[in-house]
Amino acid sequence: MQLRLIKDKIISKLMLVFTLASVSLVIIIGVGLYYRSLPVLNNSSWGQLLSSSVWKPMKGLFGFYPFIMGTLWVTAISIIIALPLCLLTSFYLSEYAHTRVKRILIPFVNLLSGIPPVIFGVWGVLFIVPLVQNHIAPHFVEYSTGYSVLAGGLVLAVMIFPLIVSIVNEVLNTIPQELKDASLALGATKWETIKKVTIRKALPGIVAATVLAISRAFGETIAVLMVCGNNAIVPHSVFDTGYPLPALIANNYGEMMSIPLYDSALMFAALLLFIIILLFNVISRIILNRLERNLAG
């Protein structure tokens, strides 16, 4: 008897230790990044680093504003393109599609998420960049190479598409048929039922899926790096080049390290990315809690 109880206690304590270890990793990474960023932070203030657009490492000038904006532009474009498509796809799959169609289409969507990012990058360079250059940009601006935040956003949109679709589809499947029947029985059409009942009920799940997708988009590196043009300039239109934070780190870390403070500046870029994602997750958690409280049941 005693021995069993002791074993039980030991195992539960052990699991607690493992859990704490992995959770504390987040804090350790944050502290580590901050520590490594200190040299550049001692050189110039947070305000300067965040608001300056001048990126001249040779002169010791590190302005992160273009990179922050690059990240936000690419992420925002990808979500704006992907979200409506994803929602319509999910609603089609869960509400309209025949079982046989579903059985064929859903594995394809999942397969999309299994393709390595670098392949999306190559596809972006070979297909999306020329598409933007020759067919989209000419309608709006005089000249664009195609390497742009729009190209980055498009590639990212395709990459986060399967993520959102599969989560939202799962969420929609948990909504009881009887609830939809209740709306249909009142004479509502299928579309009215989706608009007024299903979406409301699924809203917390849709928000959660979007948050996950945005977090993924923030961090996506290689595919974006290949199509964005990577100029340290603040983008002013979707056809401008951009230089997102992850691309900055991946492109330069390990090279040009002889430049003083460069290493520390890249660490600061990583810290920024870390903070953006952290803040974003906290805010979305708050929104989600509020939604769940308002729509309980």
Binding site: T99, P176, E178, L179, A182, A185, G187, T189, K196, G297
Partner: protein, 253 residues
């Protein structure tokens, strides 16, 4: 029955996933009466009820032949307008499914879908229907609260009020009291008796006591066939068919 029946079923056959669920059903549902469909689990009671407002359409692999006439109009006619048919019937399901919105919006949902009622009209309508289901005094101070905050019994009455708000002719109840406590069950049963003044009511139930208390007519279904149909007392106390006799005595269940 002098006038045309609201619901008239003619040679209805329903197959789901190659199983013959309903076999050659023909019946006229009496107007302004409570009719209970009784029978053992899995005999097709609920399928029969759902065939009346085409909620079967959402079942995968379903095949339906025959006719269901609602006010003389065949609802399975390819040209039939489905929302119009469903509007004529209020459905009360096994468990209450309040829509994810406020108490007020739940009742106003149907009327809003079918037109653009003015605020004052809606207010009045919501009040009338909540009074009709005896819910008004309990909720009048919190109409804007989420419907899910109500007790299960209250939710079921809210669902009834929601159904009545589209001014149906028929009320369909699918074991509507099976999730409720005895007090709430009693309230709902009394409501059915009250409502038959204005509506034709069809209930699926497996509680014979309830069928006897509430209904005027009983349909006994067994293995997808209608075995017996008649006034409540006759079917329950003096059944003509051997199967009905056995079921009523409790041999088949």
């Amino acid at each position: 029955m002098t006038s045309t029946p609201h619901i008239s079923v003619q040679n209805l056959n329903v197959h789901i996933a190659n199983q013959h669920i309903l076999k050659d059903i023909s019946i006229n549902i009496p107007n302004k009466k409570v009719t209970s469909i009784i029978g053992p689990s899995g005999c097709g009671k609920t399928t029969l009820l759902k065939s009346f407002n085409r909620l079967l359409d959402n079942t995968p692999d379903v095949k339906i032949t025959g006719k269901v006439l609602v006010d003389g109009e065949d609802i399975y006619d390819p040209n039939a307008e489905i929302t119009h048919i469903r509007k004529k019937m209020g459905l009360l399901s096994q468990r209450p499914y309040p829509l994810p919105m406020s108490i007020y919006d739940n009742v106003a949902y149907g009327p809003r879908i079918h037109g653009n009622p003015k605020k004052a009209e809606l207010d009045e309508l919501v009040e009338t229907q909540l009074k009709a289901t005896g819910l008004w005094n309990e909720v009048k101070d919190r109409l804007k609260a989420p419907a899910s905050k109500l007790s299960i019994g209250q939710q079921q009455r809210l669902c009834l009020a929601r159904g009545l708000a589209v001014e149906p002719e028929i009320i369909l109840g699918d074991e509507s009291t099976s999730a409720l406590d005895p007090t709430s069950t009693h309230i709902i049963e009394d409501l059915f008796i009250e409502l038959k003044e204005k509506y034709s009511i069809v209930l699926v139930t497996h509680i014979l006591r309830q069928a006897r208390r509430v209904s005027d007519y009983i349909i006994f279904v067994y293995m997808g066939k209608i075995i017996e149909f008649g006034p409540t007392e006759e079917v329950l106390l003096n059944p003509k068919q051997e199967l009905t006799k056995e079921y009523v005595k409790g041999f088949i269940s």
